[in-house]
């Protein structure tokens, strides 16, 4: 089993020329590949985005079947404790750099499930969120707008949630272990 994941602490990426980093960022911003993983009711709003009416591929946003190929994880709506464990696993399997887009009120402050025994209130305590899109649920136009915001952040070099996660991994792990009573993931599983 241990051959299936890396069990050492993540390292900082090698430093590179500033000009080259700019080119990288431009390329990344214009080909956002999304993990096809719907966590809550918001996944319904992603269907029209794929298809011809809103067609997100014209912005270079495409769905990928595996986290290893993806840059963006969409946490679409409420996140139960059980799903959080799977989302952590998916997120940590994605290659750097990676970004999280959180949809809906539930990821911001719990939304209509703020008093539920099983759903998280603030997603930012467990995973680093780059862009929040508010609404219950946000319309496809709003999601496209959110992706526009993410592209601007990437081009400006400010979408650094993944670096923050790597640097503050202990803090995130503490929070994650506090809400997941049955923690059976390896400590570093990317």
């Amino acid at each position: 089993m241990s051959s299936m994941y890396c069990n050492c602490k993540p390292e900082a990426p090698r430093s590179q020329l500033k000009a080259w980093a700019k080119v990288d960022e431009l390329a990344r911003a214009n080909s956002l590949w999304v993990t096809a993983y719907g966590t809550g009711c918001g996944a319904i709003e992603l269907r029209p985005l794929h298809t011809s009416r809103f067609d997100m591929e014209r912005f270079g946003i495409a769905m990928r079947p595996t986290p290893r190929q993806a840059d963006v994880l969409i946490v679409s709506g409420y996140l139960s404790v059980k799903t959080l464990k799977r989302v952590i696993r998916v997120y940590e399997q994605m290659q750097d750099p990676k970004y999280i887009v959180a949809l809906g009120s539930c990821t911001i402050n719990g939304g209509m499930y703020y008093d539920s025994y099983n759903t998280l209130n603030v997603l930012d305590r467990y995973l680093p969120v780059d862009v929040y899109i508010m609404g219950c649920m946000p319309r496809p136009e709003a999601i496209i707008d959110g992706f526009g915001l993410l592209m601007e952040k990437i081009k400006a070099g400010r979408a650094d949630g993944w670096e923050h996660y790597r640097e503050n991994l202990e803090w995130y792990r503490d929070n994650q272990k506090k809400v997941i009573p049955k923690w059976d993931l390896p400590d570093y599983n990317w």
Partner: protein, 187 residues
Amino acid sequence: MMDSQRLLEQVESTATVLQVIRRSDGYLHVSIGSQDLLSCLIRARTETGFLVLQLISVVDRIEDGKFQLTYILENPDDSSILILSALFPREGCTVPTLSEIWPAAETFERELHEMYGIDFPGNDRQDEEFILEGWKDKPPMRRDFDTLEYSIRMFGERWPRNHHDPRQFIGERVGEWETPMSGEEGS
């Protein structure tokens, strides 16, 4: 389709019917005494042809100190429905298992054991986790379980909220607020 009078007579032959809740052709919903529940269900299965157990559901009647268990049975030959409800004491609730008669009941009972803490002696799999992983607190669907308190204790206070008057808020953002209707009135 079996008419409800015949159904009622058959139920009455094995159980004390406390109340007829709803009846129509091929449909009967009665509440019976909890001591007669098992014999009544077995009889419905073996003699009357109610082969399908559709659902077991629970209502937490905390005011009366009771759990109301409802069993929905269907006869696949004529699609008639028989619904049996019975009240069990809430504290230390013990209900006879049906997993020997309907294998599907095992899963329903696992869920009820996890969500309400009802004990089904004889069901070997009731202690397996059904939905919740590593749950240590009181069963969450009982009405004396305070979900808000649990949510705050477990997931922390949520961020403070700002309230905006939509007219003013959008007006500040977009310049001026004008609906199509008000435009028509002005012209």
